[in-house]
């Protein structure tokens, strides 16, 4: 069905809207309002969602072999079940840095392409960064997730796993 695929996008857009509207308005020109939205609230929503989702997704899955195997699961099965497509490109330096590239990120696909609305981009990827961090945290990988948007529907997620914590 086409209709139920858009529900998540609508819910997410509304979530961003809600978090922004609940922020105390500061005395700044209204054009800069976006920058005051609390990204960590959105990130935390993502974290708890990811943490809980992964508990269910991996329930009937055999145990993962290693860290790369886990990341691959995130890129393919986990990503597909949320964003209806797998990650387009995964790169790693085999030392704890992973770069996940999505060339048509679903939450930004409806925003006009290019660099026009680039200042609003952090709002739309904070939830997903948290989602990745939460999923990995529950799988036993404590990580730092940062995101990068250069031109609108494409985005990159950098996952850094501190090496000293690895077994």
């Amino acid at each position: 069905m086409v209709a139920d695929e858009i529900l998540l996008e609508l819910l997410h857009a509304e979530l961003v809207n809600y978090v922004c509207s609940n922020e105390p308005k500061e005395k700044e020109p209204s054009g800069q309002l976006n920058k005051h939205c609390n990204l960590s609230t959105l990130e935390y929503f993502g974290f708890s969602t990811g943490y809980k989702l992964i508990e269910r997704f991996t329930k009937d899955w055999s145990r993962f072999k290693d860290e790369l195997d886990t990341i691959k699961f995130i890129c393919t099965d986990f990503w597909t079940s949320i964003y209806k497509k797998p990650i387009d490109n995964l790169r790693t330096n085999h030392q704890g840095v992973y770069v996940l590239q999505d060339r048509a990120f679903r939450f930004m696909a409806k925003i006009s392409n290019g660099t026009q609305h680039l200042d609003a981009a952090p709002l739309y990827i904070a939830f997903t960064s948290g989602l990745l961090r939460g999923a990995l945290a529950n799988l036993g990988i404590n990580s730092i997730v940062t995101a990068e948007v250069q031109s609108m529907p494409a985005c990159k997620f950098h996952i850094q796993v501190p090496r000293n914590q690895m077994p």
Binding site: S48, Y51, K52, I54, E55, R56, T58, K59, W61, S62, R63, F64, K65, D66, A137, N138, L139, G140
Partner: protein, 139 residues
């Protein structure tokens, strides 16, 4: 059926322990605690032998004493589930144990997915308690 069921968190801290006889609770804590070493051993053994693809979540029988048999299960999220069975209770088949583990895992996932559950906390869900006590020995 089981005399003790324990859920152990990622860092080997108990999340939930239930047993049939309250006065033996400490004894069960010791038994579950010592079984964690065997779980670690089994986990590292499977990661070394890459040829045999035995990465099942159910670890089977961990060890048996005169009184009890102890079974283990590890989820992808590094949660360990330990079930202690009375050794006198023979005729309990392997797939029955598996079914118990699967049921517990399902109940655990439900408890974690509760929006009021804060990741890392001990489990206090009433529904989860009911499931666990349903699996403990009825005598």
């Amino acid at each position: 059926m089981a005399v003790c069921i324990a859920i152990i968190g990622k860092e080997n801290a108990p999340k939930y322990v239930a047993c049939t006889e309250k006065d033996q609770e400490l004894d069960f804590h010791y038994k579950v605690h010592s079984s964690l070493d065997i779980i670690e051993e089994k986990l590292s053994a499977t990661s070394l032998t890459k040829g045999t693809d035995l990465r099942e979540q159910c670890l089977g029988l961990l060890y048996a004493t005169e009184e009890h048999k102890i079974y283990g299960y590890v989820t992808n999220t590094k949660i360990k589930i330990v079930i202690v069975i009375d050794a006198n209770h023979t005729g309990l088949r392997d797939n029955e144990i598996r079914a118990m583990f699967r049921k517990l895992h399902g109940a655990y996932a439900d408890a974690v997915c509760n929006p009021f559950y804060i990741p890392g906390d001990p489990i206090t869900s009433k529904k989860f308690c009911e499931t666990v006590h349903g699996l403990l020995v009825k005598s």
